[in-house]
Symmetry: C2
Subunit: 349 residues, 2 copies
């Protein structure tokens, strides 16, 4: 495939589709050079939007479909009945080489199931993981797995570390990312069997990655490492707990600023700086989680994403495509030596 | 044992011992009626402090010991060599009926190990759990297990729910606590086997508890339930992640307020309200985690606790003693019917 980079968009996915998707595509065009879109969705809904966003119209090809995966559809149902859905056709476009990456704000379960079935696993990788970028007190951190696998053995965690390393190089532009393994303490004796065994694998010679050791929950936001690795159960709970805690603190600050005339005046004086903090921590600016480990670039945008959120997810997909993340992962997996291309993993997955 | 309530204090435990412990005891005396202390630690360090806090001196009995469990001691080492340590003697006081509860800010691993060996399990309970109170956007929530067990089967999680229920009734004064089970989604098919099986047990008839169903990480701080139940690995990571996220947000707000003259003026105007938020969320006001499930009340105070933190931990121990938490747990376990007093659990633990 030649440049420009082509991104397939599930235009019907997400709470604010299709408008947020087309508007987000327009935002992304200003950030990414040489971008082309394949749009999948209802022509009658999309055409008027393209008239509104002629920049998107100019560099897009629209493929009509009436079928849409609903937010409440079960993954199995979406797989069976959604063969002509906007989500499925957009993933197909990556599978058959028409697009470099796919972005969808649709049903996460359906997207993961379709992604696995259509794109299949990257050679040598056992399981896909959800990886995303989070803000810290220093530089951003990459965090995986955010929920693709509720249980992970040591070798799977090891592979997550390799994939996280490649992701941090490509998306966070870190030369030599520091990798941390999430645990309940920093001592070797701490944790369950899987995490202790993964620690031994990561500590080994010649893995090609810069392993920091165990990190604890509070280390995620200190920025002490570039990548935090954990299983999908712990990762999902940790991510949502952090979001909840952040929401609670801002809720109380908001209440405080509104409480009295004095605090309202105080807010007016500090507003400019407070808005800067809000902007930095805005989850929309960290939107775009990759289902990493698949043989094709699939980026999940949050279901509630507005245009700004979608544009960030598109930028993630663009960067992953531009620097060919999957080639880097395979290269690192081969170099790591610890786990090669076993028959089971290469053949059957 | 008759009133007044007696609390054994490990006066040498914690970063700011012994001063923070004696001063904390003094604070607690103003909050709790009829309190008596058994103090364990070095007489030469404690006596001058008692002269400084005559209120504590008046209602305390001092037991001298030179032996102290250090912060870096391994649990096994503390068990073997710490038989005369201030921590161990304070726990012994509960075991032999001299005190209603023990409070220590010392080495967590050693405290847990000694607690289990000396106090043993409450009849019918399989495993102890660490339970603490966290702030939410509404009322406080009780959260367990915060790290006593890195892996838990379904029946253990079920028992945690029962113990959490009793804790919420006693400490949070909730009539009919709502219990949530932490998971990666609210649908029945979500999660690993243990959490799914625990869900089935909790959903059953006649458990005597008000089971809400699955909750996700972000629900911990919304206050949608009174008790959140999870295994010690997930709970420990979630707690520390929430602390980290809260720290990051306040760090950025602090930076914002200091950034410009305008924002500094803004802070001055809003200071009173902001301080109120800080005070509400102050972790010292939520200090005091119980090692629940033991045949005796053991409260862990944070290692870095100052006097305010220690006083809150003492208040938790006081409340747990006053309302006889362990009798309530055993009553509920018996009533729950689902898991009775099996031979293995009652006999061998």
């Amino acid at each position: 495939m030649s440049r420009p980079l082509t991104i397939a968009l599930d235009v019907m996915g997400g709470d604010h589709a299709p408008h947020a998707v087309i508007k987000g595509a327009s935002f992304a065009l200003h950030k990414c050079e040489g971008l082309h879109f394949l749009l999948y969705g209802k022509e009658s809904s999309i055409t008027p939007l393209l008239d509104k966003y002629p920049d998107v119209k100019r560099c897009s090809t629209l493929h009509h479909t009436d079928s849409v995966v609903a937010a409440h559809d079960k993954p199995s149902q979406a797989l069976r009945q959604g063969r002509n859905s906007s989500m499925r056709l957009a993933i197909d476009a990556v599978s058959n080489g028409q697009a470099n990456a796919v972005v969808s704000s649709g049903n996460t379960g359906a997207l993961m199931a379709m992604g696995k079935v259509v794109l299949r696993m990257l050679e040598g990788i056992y399981r896909p993981a959800i990886i995303a970028i989070l803000p810290t007190m220093q530089k951003d951190v990459a965090f995986l797995d955010l929920g693709a696998n509720v249980e992970c053995d040591a070798e799977t965690l090891f592979q997550f570390a390799i994939m996280g390393d490649a992701f941090a190089r490509v998306v966070l532009r870190r030369d030599r990312p520091r990798i941390g393994l999430l645990n309940v303490g920093s001592e070797e004796m701490k944790g369950h069997e899987e995490v202790k065994a993964a620690h031994q694998l990561l500590k080994g010679e010649g893995t090609g990655i810069d392993y920091h050791g165990f990190v604890e929950g509070n280390d995620i936001t200190t920025g002490v490492v570039d990548v935090v690795v954990t299983d999908g159960f712990t990762g999902n709970v940790a991510l949502k707990t952090a979001e909840g805690a952040a929401k609670m603190i801002t809720h109380y600050f908001k209440q405080a600023f509104g409480a009295t005339l004095f605090s309202q005046i105080g807010y007016m004086f500090a507003k400019h700086q407070i808005d800067k903090v809000r902007k930095n921590l805005d989850p929309r600016r960290h939107n775009g989680a990759m289902l990493i480990g698949l043989n094709g670039i699939l980026v999940k945008s949050h279901g509630s994403s507005d245009a700004l959120g979608v544009s960030h997810a598109i930028q993630v997909a663009y960067t992953l495509s531009k620097y060919n993340i999957n080639a880097q992962i395979q290269d690192e997996i081969r170099k790591s030596g610890v786990i090669g291309l076993t028959e089971e993993s290469a053949g059957t997955l």
